[in-house]
């Protein structure tokens, strides 16, 4: 019997405020699983018409799946969040695109008819789990020259990208970074970011309990001069600095996806419709270019061009990687469609959680921009990949 694919909608998304990784960061003494549990509970609380037992899957991504990010984090988090024991869960890993993959995989499952409602999200506590913790790369990667030695050092892959796009200078990257900081500051001032945030308890033995209510990483007053002074740790006289890259961060995200008809039945208000998604591989040593082929594939399959896309939420792992994407698609560095409320350079990038942050922001933007029909969320992924998701605004005025 032929199947009919079902429409999948993004109903709602939340996240914890992002913190700086390390002993002085907001979440230095807070567990990773507690962060994502808090996000899931708040997501359920914000959607009271959803009976918890109707959740068919909890897919949570983490890059380092050990310790408090281990134990099949999706299932552990579901149990810890107090969802009925009948609700299953699992863990997902695609490095930076973990939460994005959680969304696309479970979304595909909804479309296939296997799920009605899912929770998808991600968590990364880079303070407790530094990048590369416990990895044991196969010596054949290098012996057989499968990848360049720089492929596993993300900053070095960003430097490599400057080589591939010589027109993208450090000055352009820094200017992009300053704009990201400015856009985030403006969005905060206008109250655009706060609605997605879940106030989260934090504790330190020295200071006692507190409450994280805002992102810790942004540096609103950053100037070009400030950035010019920063070191280039990945290459002498290089281009990539702590200022034009996302930092090392802690945070968690969670969103609710549903079959469109089920959302209607349960009284859930969708914000955007999942149209299609695409992942693509590139050489690992220039992983930052990954969004380009992923997006090309996606647009082609849907007979769209970049002109049809009204909003782009691109993860800012590195300014150069965003600029490479923009250059490829002939989009200006300061195009208003791109990250209107800023990005990861200012907000932070807790690896596997970021994909849903992009979606949260796109969903909020769609609410304001009913003139826009299509938007993208896209990100580069370690080991040479890119992922892009195409979304349609359910409130697009053209449909009315």
């Amino acid at each position: 019997m032929p199947r009919t694919a079902r429409d999948v909608v993004f109903v709602d998304g939340v996240r914890t405020p992002f913190g700086k990784a390390g002993p002085k960061g907001l979440y230095a003494e807070t567990r990773a699983d507690d962060l994502v549990v808090r996000a899931i509970r708040e997501l359920m609380r914000r959607n009271p018409s959803l009976p918890p037992e109707r959740v068919d899957e909890v897919a949570i991504a983490a890059t380092t799946q050990t310790g408090d990010q281990g134990l099949t984090i999706g299932r552990s988090a579901a149990v810890l969040a107090g969802l009925p024991k009948s609700v299953p869960g699992y863990a997902i890993d695609r490095m930076c695109a973990g939460a994005m993959t959680a969304v696309t995989t479970t979304g595909a499952g909804i479309s296939f008819g296997s799920y009605d409602v899912v929770i998808a999200g991600g968590v990364e506590h880079m303070g407790r789990h530094p990048m590369g913790e416990g990895v044991d790369p196969n010596p054949r990667f290098l012996a057989d020259r499968l990848v360049d030695p720089s492929a596993l050092v993300m900053g070095s892959t960003a430097e490599n990208l400057h080589d591939r796009f010589p027109g993208i200078t450090k000055e352009r990257a820094d200017a992009y970074a300053v704009r990201s900081q400015q856009k985030v500051a403006a969005a905060y001032a206008a109250g655009k970011i706060q609605p997605d945030l879940v106030p989260t308890a934090i504790r330190s033995v020295e200071k006692g309990y507190g409450l994280a209510t805002a992102d810790e990483p942004p540096r609103p007053g950053t100037t070009l001069e400030d950035l010019a002074k920063l070191k280039t740790p990945f290459r002498p006289h290089g281009n990539v600095t702590a200022g034009n890259a996302a930092g090392l961060n802690d945070g968690a995200t969670a969103c609710l996806l549903a079959a469109e008809d089920v959302a209607r039945e349960l009284g859930l208000a969708p914000k955007m419709r999942l149209v299609d998604f695409s992942f693509a591989g590139v050489e690992p040593e220039v992983m930052g270019v990954g969004p380009v082929p992923a997006t090309e594939k996606l647009l082609a399959r849907n007979s769209l061009t970049m002109d049809d896309i009204g909003l782009i939420e691109i993860n800012e792992a590195f300014a150069v990687q965003v600029l490479a994407f923009l250059e490829h698609f002939k989009i200006a560095d300061d195009d208003a469609r791109v990250n209107p409320w800023g990005g990861a350079i200012a907000l932070g990038h807790p690896l596997a959680s970021s994909g849903v942050r992009l979606m949260n922001q796109l969903a909020r933007l769609f609410e304001e921009r009913t003139d826009v029909r299509y938007g993208l969320t896209t990100m580069c992924v370690g080991m040479g990949m890119g992922g892009t998701v195409l979304w349609e605004n359910v409130n697009w005025e053209g449909a009315k």
């Binding site: 808090r38 106030p199 033995v205 020295e206 209510t213």
Partner: protein, 704 residues
């Protein structure tokens, strides 16, 4: 000088409370949701994990006072919050400093410091919120009571005002604030009834239902939700309403009922309860200042009471000595027990089988020579499992597992692979010797053979075996599932490995074990029987039963002697008495009247309506030399002191502390007596009747 200043100088100039584990009051600003403003959140944390709960000594109280100074100096705050470290809110006063308090001024100073610091939380210019995130007891509960609002986590496992149980009153605001918050009846439940019921604890939900907390949230994000609730309260979105407290008849009735209950149970023996009820009774008409001042006086008196010192001593025994039994061999010597045998299938045997199966989770085989009795025994154990299932105490899977573990066999070859076999057959030496000899034919040489005898000699029981070194006494108290004491008896030839295994099994059974020498009736029964022997003797001589029965009331024991006899069973009491008489004829005389009473098949001296049975009165009648209540009591106490001294001289247990521990855990003797030896010491009976004190002054009494 204020109390705070006095303490500051005391702590600066003297080496006092030097070992205090200080609970810090960390202050951190919290931006409340919905733009409700900034709250200063105090976290009470002693720097250790939850296994060492936060308590309040003088340094901790001063730290909290400093935090409040810092908060009071600010004008940018909309509220103050108080919470605890993970899993623990705070568990009350640090009582380690109490034994060093010697005079009333000093005691009053301890009382006042708590008030002077805690009350500030209720007297700030902004509202205060307590977030009970974990275990809260005593002063921990009281900090919250001083706050304007309270939230509680559904995960709170223990919430209590246990002071009266120890010998104090919840006098840092508890007796005044709690009844004024929830009414006298509910306050009495927390302050009096629960401590009186073996120090029962409330859970978070119960505390909420009593109205102590204004809101309850699940533990997963308790603090976040409490802060969100706080913001809503501050913004006026949530109005906190509490039922009005009835300060009229309901209050007085609750107090009168509590007084009546207390008098019936303790006869005024424990001053802490009396003071607590007095404070609650008066709290409705007192101002805060008056209420707190009255609490200061009560605390000061009680801090200097021998009953409190005895209570702290008793608490320490149950918390520490009970966990590290004196004289027990090294734990490493214990052998693993993977299967248990129970000889006999009577009621006791079935109860033991169930207990072993539940706690050890290994196969337990009952044996009996009679199929019908065996089926009945196994059936009883399985039926008890079904009852646990019906009450939701075990899951269906667990019930299946337990029932599968408990089986029966007509032959003792079923014990072949057992590591521990306990007998619960008829209390007769020859029967028990025969049973052990039969068991020995089947079990390995290392298998421990345990006897639940209440009075027979363990050494004699083992004497005819090939491996007498494996025999231990394992004396439970009825009901075996409930009473926490296990007397573990070392026979003359018992070896360390068997004994260590017995202690390990005792621990797995969640019992508190005490090592006892192989002496007649061991500890608890010997002491109870000596008490009963003295009292029966006075009745024998002509003292009316009701006079004898009332004589021990001033001690506040859990039940009068003849009620206890009825509970134990007169036949058993007589049997143990005969055993003791055989060994110590002068101190355990045989009463012909008592023997006749048992022979008449009497189960007790009371009729179902609690009036004296005229037949029993007649059976005991005829004496011509009655004693007064005072005389009966004096003889009973003298007898106890004498017996305990002899037991210690015989080395039945290692120290008086073990006697007290046994009486507290096995007979339910109260904390205010410290078991019994602290009372015998302080009443001067030990010196008069037993040649000297049992414990050094200060150990369980005020050093004067």
């Amino acid at each position: 000088m204020s109390t705070v200043e006095t303490w500051r100088s005391l702590l600066a100039s003297e080496d006092r409370n030097a070992d205090e584990v200080v609970t810090h009051a960390r202050v951190r600003d919290v931006e409340l949701p919905f733009g409700a403003g900034t709250l200063a959140l105090i976290t009470l944390d002693n720097g250790f994990d939850h296994t060492k709960p936060s308590t309040f000594g003088p340094r901790g109280l001063l730290a909290l006072n400093d935090a409040l100074d810092q908060i009071e100096a600010r004008d940018d705050l909309v509220a103050v919050g108080v919470t605890g470290k993970p899993f623990i809110f705070a568990v009350g006063a640090d009582l380690n400093g109490v034994p060093s308090v010697r005079d009333k001024d000093e005691a009053r100073l301890v009382a006042r410091l708590g008030h002077d610091v805690f009350r500030r939380l209720g007297e700030l210019s902004v509202p205060s919120f307590a977030y009970y995130n974990g275990a809260a007891m005593g002063g921990g509960v009281e900090i919250g009571l001083h706050c304007t609002y309270r939230t509680i986590s559904a995960g709170v496992p223990a919430f209590a005002l246990p002071e009266a149980f120890l010998g104090l009153v919840p006098g840092w605001g508890g007796t005044y604030l709690l009844p004024n918050l929830v009414g006298a009846e509910k306050a009495i439940k927390v302050v009096i009834d629960n401590p009186l019921a073996q120090n029962r604890m409330l859970r978070g939900k119960q505390a909420y239902e009593l109205g102590i907390a204004d809101a309850i949230f699940e533990s997963a994000d308790f603090l976040e939700e409490s802060l969100t609730w706080t913001a809503r309260v501050l913004k006026g979105e949530i109005e906190v309403t509490r039922p009005e407290v009835d300060k009229g008849k309901a209050w007085d009735d609750a107090v009168a009922l509590a007084r009546w209950n207390l008098d019936g149970k303790l006869h005024g023996a424990a001053p802490s309860y009396v003071r607590a009820i007095e404070l609650i009774a008066a709290a409705k008409d007192r101002s805060r200042d008056e209420g707190f001042a009255a609490e200061d006086e009560a605390l000061a008196d009680l801090i200097l009471s021998d009953e409190l010192r005895a209570g702290l001593y008793a608490f320490d025994l149950t918390q520490k000595r009970a966990k590290k039994p004196a004289g027990a061999p090294a734990k490493e010597l214990a052998r693993k027990v993977t299967k248990v045998g129970v000889v006999g299938a009577g009621l006791m045997a079935s109860q033991l089988a169930l207990l072993f199966a539940r706690r050890l989770e290994v196969p337990v085989v009952l044996t009996d020579l009679d199929q019908e009795r065996l089926d009945k025994g196994v059936g009883y154990a399985h039926g008890e499992v079904d009852k646990l299932l019906a009450k939701g105490r075990v899951s269906a899977d667990k019930a299946n597992r337990l029932k599968a573990l408990i089986t029966g066999s007509l032959t003792k070859d079923a014990f072949a692979d057992a590591d521990f076999v306990i007998e619960a057959v008829f209390e007769e030496m020859s029967v028990k010797q025969k049973v052990f000899a039969e068991v020995e034919e089947h079990v390995s040489p290392e298998c421990v053979l345990a006897t639940n005898t209440s009075s027979l000699s363990v050494s004699e029981m083992a004497s005819k075996l090939a491996h007498p070194e494996r025999v231990v006494g394992f004396h439970f108290f009825n009901p075996v599932a409930v009473l926490p004491l296990l007397e573990i008896v070392r026979g003359e030839r018992t070896d360390d490995a068997a004994l260590a295994t017995a202690f390990a099994v005792g621990k797995q059974l969640k019992k508190s074990s005490v090592l006892v020498k192989d002496a007649p009736a061991f500890v608890v029964n010997r002491i109870l029987l000596r008490l009963m022997a003295e009292i029966i003797q006075t009745v024998d001589e002509g003292t009316p039963i009701d006079v004898a029965e009332r004589a021990a009331a001033p001690l506040g024991l859990p039940m009068p002697p003849f009620v206890l006899m009825g509970l134990v069973g007169p036949a058993i009491a007589l049997h143990v008495n005969e055993t003791l008489h055989g060994k110590f004829p002068e101190r355990f005389p045989l009463s012909e009247k008592f023997a006749k009473f048992v022979a008449a098949g009497k189960r007790g001296v009371y009729q179902p309506d609690f009036t004296l049975d005229p037949e029993a009165v007649a059976l005991f009648g005829g004496g011509t030399n009655p004693s007064t209540e005072e005389q009966v009591l004096e003889r009973a106490l003298n007898g106890l002191a004498e017996e305990i001294r002899i037991m210690l001289d015989e080395g039945v247990v290692a120290a008086p502390e073990d006697i007290d521990l046994c009486m507290i855990l096995g007979a339910g003797w109260p904390f205010h007596l410290g078991g019994i030896t602290p009372y015998l010491d302080r009443a001067g009976i030990a010196e008069k009747a037993a040649g000297g004190r049992f414990l050094e002054p200060g150990v369980a009494s005020v050093s004067r």
